[in-house]
C-alpha cells in the first residue's frame, strides 16, 4: 500500500511538473485551427522552456534581490500548491485539514512576490500589470472560497482530498444545480487567475491593457522560464480543481483514472481555446463585474445547498 502511495505521489509530481507546458500549446493549436491557421507546434511550450533555460539573464540596474526572488518564490509556491490538489480520484501527496486555505495563500504568496518584483523594476508598465493582477485577484479569491464553502457543506470535509473523494457522486445526484454553479464560477476564476481571454490576452505584448504578460516584461532567461512554467502549472492546478468537481466518477482502475485525468485536462485546454477563439477581451472596467458574477454564481450554489 505504501509503495503504491509512493508511486502515486511520484506520478502526481511528474504530471504536475511535466504536463503543464503542453496546455498552452493545446490552447494555441485550438485557436490556430479555429482561425484557419496552422499555428505553432503543440510542444512549443517545451521548446520555449528548453531555450530559456539555456540562456543567461539580464537584470535592470534598478532592481534588488526582490526582483530575483519573484520568479523563484512564485515557482516554488505553485509547486507546493500543486501538491495539495487532488488529481481526479488520486489523493494528493499532502492532505490535511485546511489545506484549501493553504493552497490559496501559497498562490497569494507567489503573487505578492511577483507583483513586488514588477514594482522593483521601476517601469510604469510593470506597475500597471502588477496593480491589475493584485486587484482582480481580490475578487477571484472570494469566489474560490465560496466554492470551497459549497464543497465543505456538501461533503462535510475540511480538506481538498476529502471534498473530492467518493461522496461526490451522491452530491451530484442530490445537488447537481449547486455543483454546476460552482463549476461555472471556478471556470471563470480559472480564466481570470491564468490571464486568459476575456480577462487578458496572452498574445499581445506591450499593451496598456495587459495584465500578466506586462508584469513579467523585464524577466529573462531561466527566470522567465520559471515564470512561464509556473504559469502553466497554475493553469493545470485550476484545471484539476474544475475537473475534480465536474467528473465525480471513478472507473475503479487507477491507471484508467490517470488516463481520464489526462483526457479531461486536454479537453479543458481545448475548451479554453474555444472560449478564446469565440470572444474578445473585456474592457478593463468590466472585468470586476465578471468576477463579481463568479462570486455570485458560487454564492447561489451555497444558497442552494443551505435551503
Amino acid at each position: 500500500m505504501n509503495t503504491w502511495r509512493l508511486v502515486e505521489g511520484s506520478l502526481h509530481l511528474l504530471l504536475l511538473l511535466g504536463l503543464p507546458p503542453l496546455l498552452p500549446g493545446v490552447i494555441n493549436k485550438t485557436k490556430a485551427l479555429m482561425a484557419g491557421r496552422v499555428g505553432p507546434p503543440v510542444l512549443q511550450g517545451y521548446y520555449d522552456l528548453a531555450k530559456l533555460f539555456r540562456k543567461g539573464m539580464v537584470f535592470s540596474r534598478t532592481t534588488t534581490w526582490v526582483f530575483k526572488a519573484g520568479p523563484v518564490v512564485a515557482w516554488v509556491t505553485t509547486v507546493l500548491a500543486g501538491l495539495l490538489v487532488p488529481l481526479m480520484h488520486h489523493a494528493p501527496p499532502a492532505a490535511f485539514a485546511g489545506d484549501m486555505v493553504l493552497l490559496v495563500y501559497l498562490l497569494a504568496l507567489g503573487r505578492f512576490f511577483m507583483a513586488a518584483a514588477a514594482l522593483d523594476t521601476g517601469s510604469p508598465f510593470e506597475g500597471m500589470g502588477a496593480a491589475r493582477e493584485v486587484s482582480y485577484a481580490s475578487l477571484a479569491e472570494p469566489a474560490l472560497f465560496l466554492g470551497f464553502i459549497a464543497m465543505a457543506k456538501l461533503t462535510g470535509s475540511l480538506s481538498l482530498a476529502g471534498m473530492f473523494s467518493g461522496t461526490l457522486p451522491e452530491g451530484w445526484s442530490g445537488a447537481a444545480a449547486a455543483l454546476v454553479l460552482v463549476t461555472a464560477s471556478w471556470f471563470i476564476v480559472l480564466l481570470a487567475e491564468n490571464s486568459r481571454i476575456p480577462f487578458d490576452d496572452p498574445n499581445t505584448h506591450l499593451e496598456l491593457t495587459m495584465i500578466h504578460e506586462v508584469m513579467v516584461l523585464d524577466h529573462s532567461g531561466p527566470a522567465l522560464g520559471l515564470i512561464e512554467h509556473g504559469a502553466a502549472m497554475k493553469l493545470f492546478i485550476f484545471g484539476a480543481l474544475v475537473l475534480d468537481v465536474l467528473i465525480p466518477v471513478t472507473t475503479g482502475d487507477p491507471w484508467l483514472d490517470w488516463a481520464l485525468l489526462l483526457a479531461g485536462v486536454l479537453l479543458l485546454a481545448v475548451l479554453i481555446g474555444l472560449v478564446e477563439s469565440s470572444m474578445a477581451r473585456l474592457r478593463l472596467n468590466n472585468i470586476p463585474k465578471l468576477l463579481v458574477a463568479a462570486c455570485l454564481l458560487a454564492l447561489f450554489g451555497v444558497i442552494l445547498l443551505m435551503v
Binding site: G56, M57, G98, V101, A108, L119, S123
Partner: protein, 654 residues
C-alpha cells in the same frame, strides 16, 4: 517567586525607568538608565507571564483600598499572561528603538515627558490585564488612556498632532463613559466590583446583554472597531513611531482583552452575541483594509490595517462566543485560539511595520508614500524586515499571520455543518470576507513595499536616505525573527495558547489545538518553501550570466523616476472599485486651452465616518445646542430665577 511578585518587580523597574528619565543629568544618560530599567522590567514581566503560561495561574493578590467597593486585587491567569507578553515585549523593544529615534539630546523638551508617560502607560496596561476588581481596572484603564494621550501629543507644537490628540481624548473618554455604565450594571448584578465569572443562570438575559453591549461599545472604541475607529488613524499617524507601535501593537489590544474578559464572565452567552461580534469583525476587517488602500500617508495606512486586523480578531472571538453558546469546544479552541494568537501576531508584525515606517520617516523626513522609492538599496535591513512584516500581515505562509488566520478559517469551515442558521450563516459571510481581506491586504502591501522600498527614489528625500543605527534595526530583527518563528513552529506556542483558551471556556471541556489544526504540516510547508526557494535561488545564481542593464523602457529614451507607477496609481483600480464607501476626493486642474499650462491632480481618501458622518453630526448638535445659549445670561438674577423655577417645578410634580 510567585507571578505577582515578579510582576510587581517588573512594574517597579519600569516605573523607576520612567522616573529616571526625569533626572536632571546632562546628555543621554537619563535615557540610557531609563531604557536599561525598562529592559529589566520587561524581562521580569515576560518571566512572570512565562511562569504562568507554563505552570498555571498565580495565587492572586488581595489588598484593601480605602475607596468603597475597591480592592487592590490582582491575579495573573493564563489569559492575563497571554496579554502581558506583547505588553512587555513591545514596550521593551520600543524603548530601545526610542534610544535612537527619539534621543534626549535631539528632543530635550519632549523626550523626558515621552519616557515618563511611556513607562506609565506600560505599567497601567500590565495592571489592566491583571486587575480583578472593577475599580482598580477602571483606574488603570484611565491612567493608560491619559498616558497614551500625552504620548500621542508628544509633538504638540504641530496643529495636526493636537487635533489627533483631541479626537483620541474624546473617543477614549466616550469609551470610559460606557465602561462606567458597565461597572454600574456589574454592581447591580453582583453587589461588588469583582471581576469573576457569574454562576450559570444568575443573571437575567436583559442585564447580561446590557453589560455585553456596553462592553462592546467601550472596548470596541479602544480596539478601533469600525465604525468607532475614528480616533485611530490620526493618532497612529501623528505619534512618534515607537509610540504608534505601542498603540497599535498593544494598547488597542486592551480593547480585545476587555471583550475577552467580559465574555468570560458569562457562562452561557446567547448565540447572537457571537454573531454580532463576528459581523462587526467582518465590517471592520473589510473596510479597514479598503480604507488603507486609499491612503498616501505610510503611518495612516498602517493604522487602517490595525482596524482590519482587529476585525479578524473579532471574527475569531465571535466564533468562540458562538461556539460556547452552542456548546462546541472545538469552535472555542479554534475561534479564541485564532483571536488570541492573532493578537500576538498583530502585536509582532504591526510593531515591526511601525518601526520600519519610523526608520523611513527618521531618514527621509516624510510619511508620503509617493515621495519615497528605492529605499531597499539605501536601507537594506529595514527593507528586508519590513518585507517580512508585510508578508506576515497579509497572512501569507510560512509566517505567523497565516497560522492564526488558518485557525479562524478552520473554525469557520467547521461551523458550516451546524443546523441553526445563526451558526452557519456567519461562516458563509466571514469566509469570503476573510479571503477578500487577505487579497486586499496583499494588494495594499505590494503597493507599500513597491512604492517605498523598490524602484528608483522619487525625490531627494529618498535619494539621500541611509540605514538607521543598530538601536533601531535590532528591535526589527527580533520582531521579524518572532514572526518567522511562530510561522515555522506553531507547535511551540500552541500549548500556551491552549492554556489561555482553557481558562476562558468555563465548562472545562477543552480540545487541544494540536488535534484540530495541521501544525506539523505548517512546519513542513515552511521548511519546503525555504529549502525549495533557497536551492532554486542558488541554482539560478550558478546558471545565470548576471548582466546589468537599464529597465526595459519600451523604446523611450529618457525615462525618469517620476514616471514610475506610484502608490496612488497602484491602488487606483481598487479605490475606484470601492468608491461607494471610500468616496475619494479628487482635485484636478483644467487643461482646456489650445496650449495648456502645467496642471495638477490630487486624490485623497478621507475617513468617511469621521468627516462625512461624525463631524457634520456633531456640528449639527452644536448648532442645536446654540439655541440654549441665551439661557446663559451672566446675571445672578437670571440664575436665581432659574433656581426658583426649578424648585417650583419640583414642588408641582413631586
Amino acid at each position: 517567586m510567585s507571578g505577582e511578585a515578579l510582576l510587581a518587580l517588573a512594574l517597579g523597574a519600569v516605573l523607576a525607568g520612567g522616573a529616571a528619565a526625569l533626572l536632571p543629568a546632562p546628555g543621554e544618560r537619563p535615557q540610557r538608565i531609563a531604557v536599561g530599567l525598562t529592559t529589566l522590567g520587561a524581562a521580569l514581566g515576560l518571566a512572570a507571564a512565562a511562569s504562568v503560561l507554563a505552570y498555571g495561574p498565580s495565587a492572586g493578590l488581595r489588598l484593601g483600598w480605602a475607596l468603597p467597593g475597591a480592592e487592590l486585587r490582582l491575579q495573573i491567569d493564563a489569559l492575563s499572561a497571554w496579554f502581558l507578553v506583547p505588553i512587555f515585549l513591545v514596550s521593551g523593544l520600543g524603548a530601545w528603538y526610542g534610544l535612537d529615534s527619539w534621543r534626549l539630546s535631539e528632543h530635550p523638551a519632549s523626550a523626558r515627558r515621552l519616557l515618563g508617560f511611556y513607562a506609565l502607560a506600560t505599567a497601567a496596561m500590565a495592571i489592566v490585564v491583571t486587575a480583578r476588581n472593577g475599580i482598580l481596572f477602571l483606574a488603570a484603564w484611565e491612567v493608560m488612556t491619559v498616558s497614551a494621550f500625552m504620548l500621542v501629543t508628544t509633538e504638540d507644537e504641530r496643529q495636526e498632532v493636537r487635533e489627533a490628540g483631541w479626537i483620541y481624548f474624546i473617543a477614549a473618554h466616550a469609551s470610559t463613559l460606557l465602561l462606567f455604565g458597565l461597572l454600574g450594571l456589574l454592581w447591580r448584578a453582583r453587589g461588588s466590583f469583582d471581576l469573576e465569572p457569574f454562576a450559570a443562570g444568575a443573571l437575567s438575559p436583559a442585564l447580561a446583554s446590557g453589560m455585553f453591549l456596553l462592553a462592546l461599545g467601550g472596548f470596541g472604541i479602544k480596539a478601533g472597531l469600525f465604525p468607532v475607529h475614528v480616533w485611530l488613524p490620526p493618532a497612529h499617524a501623528n505619534a512618534p513611531s515607537h509610540v504608534s507601535a505601542l498603540l497599535s501593537g498593544v494598547l488597542i489590544k486592551m480593547g480585545v482583552y476587555g471583550m475577552v474578559r467580559v465574555t468570560w464572565l458569562f457562562g452561557d452567552p446567547p448565540l447572537w452575541w457571537g454573531a454580532l461580534l463576528l459581523a462587526l469583525g467582518v465590517v471592520s476587517g473589510v473596510l479597514g483594509v479598503a480604507f488603507a488602500l486609499g491612503q498616501h500617508d505610510l503611518k495612516r495606512l498602517l493604522a487602517y490595517h490595525s482596524i482590519e486586523n482587529i476585525g479578524i480578531i473579532f471574527i475569531g472571538l465571535g466564533l468562540a462566543v458562538g461556539g460556547r453558546a452552542a456548546g462546541s469546544p472545538a469552535l472555542v479552541a479554534l475561534g479564541l485560539g485564532g483571536a488570541l494568537l492573532h493578537t500576538w501576531n498583530h502585536g509582532l508584525f504591526k510593531t515591526l511595520l511601525f518601526f520600519g515606517a519610523g526608520a523611513v520617516l527618521h531618514r527621509t523626513h516624510t510619511r508620503e508614500i509617493d515621495q519615497l522609492g528605492g529605499l531597499a538599496k539605501a536601507m537594506p535591513r529595514t527593507a528586508l524586515y519590513f518585507l517580512v512584516g508585510a508578508a506576515a500581515i497579509c497572512g501569507l505562509p510560512p509566517l505567523n499571520g497565516f497560522v492564526s488566520e488558518l485557525f479562524v478559517y478552520l473554525g469557520l469551515f467547521g461551523s458550516l455543518g451546524a443546523a441553526a442558521p445563526l451558526r452557519w450563516l456567519p461562516a458563509v459571510l466571514a469566509i469570503p470576507a476573510l479571503a477578500l481581506i487577505g487579497a486586499l491586504a496583499v494588494a495594499c502591501f505590494v503597493k507599500v513595499c513597491g512604492a517605498v522600498f523598490l524602484g528608483e527614489p522619487r525625490t531627494d528625500h529618498a535619494r539621500h536616505a541611509r540605514e538607521c543605527g543598530p538601536a533601531m534595526v535590532f528591535p526589527m530583527a527580533v520582531l521579524a525573527a518572532c514572526c518567522v518563528g511562530i510561522g515555522l513552529f506553531p507547535a511551540l506556542v500552541v500549548p500556551a495558547l491552549d492554556r489561555a483558551t482553557a481558562g476562558w471556556s468555563l465548562a472545562g471541556a477543552t480540545v487541544p489545538l494540536a488535534g484540530l489544526a495541521p501544525l506539523a504540516a505548517l512546519t513542513w510547508t515552511g521548511a519546503a518553501l525555504l529549502a525549495g526557494g533557497g536551492l532554486l535561488a542558488l541554482a539560478l545564481r550558478a546558471a545565470g550570466l548576471d548582466t546589468r542593464l537599464g529597465t526595459w523602457d519600451c523604446g523611450y529614451v529618457l525615462p525618469t523616476p517620476r514616471m514610475q507607477y506610484t502608490g496612488s496609481s497602484f491602488a487606483q483600480v481598487l479605490v475606484t472599485l470601492w468608491r461607494t464607501v471610500l468616496i475619494p476626493a479628487v482635485t484636478r486642474g483644467t487643461s482646456d486651452q489650445l496650449f495648456p499650462g502645467p496642471s495638477h491632480y490630487a486624490t485623497r481618501v478621507p475617513d468617511t465616518v469621521l468627516e462625512r458622518a461624525l463631524l457634520p453630526g456633531l456640528r449639527g448638535i452644536a448648532w442645536l445646542l446654540a439655541w440654549l445659549r441665551p439661557l446663559q445670561r451672566g446675571s445672578i438674577h437670571a440664575y436665581l430665577f432659574y433656581v426658583f423655577l426649578t424648585l417650583l417645578i419640583l414642588l408641582l410634580f413631586k
